[in-house]
């Protein structure tokens, strides 16, 4: 079947989608967006976390056909999403997104905070954590430690780098508060 939906603000179409296929598979294997990671395929690890109509979900548990007509936000669109939220002007940035080996790409504040706080180890859980953390800060700019733990409780880090990850979210929140 064909599935038509919006990914990071851009209309997308996937053909020959198997009816039992997950949104995660479509993103990674058909649309060339491998940021969302495939690990447990049962909603336990959170490494495939994306926004579906703004709501954080495990892309592995959304049937591809359920995404028809909906808006999906992935880690690839995070910087653009954050810029738009902050009132930035580069609404088309996601459309022009390319991997940048020189590391000159503008990052979302939460991405910058993860790097600065040393919250990225092997990196596998990072995309899911970024999407979950960004959504937390969007709704709760000044989260308590309990809020952060709760919001990230569906994301596993097998490097067990949780302390640095918590530091990163606190850092992102603190920087946003300074910038206000």
């Amino acid at each position: 079947m064909r599935v038509t939906f919006t990914v990071n603000g851009r209309p997308q179409e996937a053909d020959d989608v198997w009816e039992g296929e997950s949104l995660l598979y479509v993103l990674r294997e058909r649309l060339g967006l491998p940021g969302s990671k495939n690990a447990c395929e049962q909603g336990e690890c959170g490494s495939c976390t994306v926004r579906l109509d703004g709501v954080p979900v495990c892309a592995c548990l959304v049937a591809a056909g359920q995404a028809e007509g909906r808006e999906v936000g992935t880690v690839e669109g995070l910087a653009d999403h954050a810029a738009r939220r902050a009132g930035g002007t580069s609404a088309d940035r996601a459309r022009q997104w390319r991997p940048d080996p020189a590391d000159t790409v503008e990052l979302a504040p939460v991405q910058r905070a993860f790097i600065d706080a040393g919250a990225v180890q092997c990196g596998f859980c990072t995309p899911g954590l970024l999407v979950a953390a960004d959504e937390l800060l969007e709704h709760n700019p000044d989260p308590s430690d309990a809020d952060i733990r709760e919001a990230l409780s569906g994301n596993l880090c097998r490097c067990t780098g949780y302390e640095k990850i918590l530091d990163a979210v606190r850092l992102a929140a603190a920087r946003a508060a300074e910038g206000d």
């Binding site: 395929e41 909603g43 548990l61 049937a63 409780s153």
Partner: protein, 296 residues
């Protein structure tokens, strides 16, 4: 496989009538796991995620009519006053990502004995609204669970909503697992005080082939509280009564040994949860009574 995408509820019922083996999918938190792991290859997936009324609720009257696909996150945010036990149970489901998708209708459809909402539904009192092109029927939740992962739905029926009594007294929920998130219950216990009828209802999860009420324990406790005048005096539950209630609750279990825990552990844990949750709800009840004289 066919992906059926009904635009409204009537279309969904017609599709289910035409394809009785179609597997309904809403949040996908159970069904997609089975498909991802090749445990299930239904001929038809029936997508209910586009049907607006399944995501709505009606809290007028003595019951909440909860649409089958209302996600747990919305129950926690919007219905914790009317359905405190269910909101507590919902908060223990999976993770934020899972609570944004999973629903009570899905829990009932899957009918796993470990489903988190079942003890709360049993304790509050609930009926499952099953619909088909033939009509509507209300199934008391006690009769809905018919076996491990089996329920009372006919092949052409879909769950439209769940009618849950609004709380008239304190409710509690307790669940045993290895951590606070992403845990399938080793076992779980729900309790609800119904002060207007001076009764207590319970629900036990993951300690028998189906979710069950601890009927003997409920009757014993109601009689003991009445005899001691505790409902009027607001006095503490005598320790001997709490102990007996816990033992009787444990006796209602029929657990198995599995990877999550042994049968003996589950019996023991249900007794502990029964005693503790009784303490919690009774303290809250006493607080609303505003006094604490001793039981006779």
């Amino acid at each position: 496989m066919d992906f059926l995408r009904p635009a409204d509820w009537e279309e969904a019922l017609a599709a289910k009538a035409e394809h009785p083996s179609a597997v309904p999918i809403a949040g996908g938190t159970d069904v997609m796991v089975e498909i991802n792991f090749d445990h299930r290859r239904p001929e038809h997936l029936l997508d209910l995620s586009r049907i607006g009324e399944l995501h709505e609720w009606d809290a007028d009257g003595p019951d909440v009519r909860l649409g089958a696909a209302v996600p747990y996150a919305r129950i926690i945010d919007h219905l914790h006053t009317e359905l405190p036990g269910l909101a507590l149970a919902a908060h223990t489901v999976g993770s934020p990502q899972i609570r944004n998708r999973g629903s009570v209708g899905g829990n009932l459809g899957a009918a796993s004995p470990a489903g988190d909402s079942h003890p709360a539904l049993l304790a509050a009192g609930a009926e499952v609204e099953a619909q088909s092109v033939r009509g509507t029927r209300l199934i008391p939740v006690e009769e809905f669970y018919t076996g491990v992962k089996r329920n009372a739905l006919a092949p052409d029926e879909l769950i439209r909503a769940v009618h849950i009594r609004k709380a008239t007294g304190p409710q509690q929920f307790s669940k045993v697992g290895t951590r606070n998130a992403m845990v399938i219950a080793v076992c779980a216990f729900g309790i609800a005080l119904h002060p207007e009828s001076r009764t207590v209802r319970t629900g036990i999860g993951s300690a028998a082939p189906t979710p069950v009420r601890a009927g003997v324990a409920e009757e014993f406790l109601a009689a003991a509280l009445a005899e001691a005048g505790c409902w009027d005096s607001g006095a503490p539950v005598p320790p001997s009564v709490a102990r007996e209630f816990a033992e009787l609750a444990s006796g209602a279990c029929n657990p198995i040994d599995d990877v999550r825990g042994s049968a003996a552990y589950r019996r023991r844990a249900v007794a502990v949860m029964a005693r503790r949750t009784l303490g919690w709800v009774w303290e809250e009840y006493r607080g609303t009574q505003g006094r604490g004289t001793l039981c006779a």
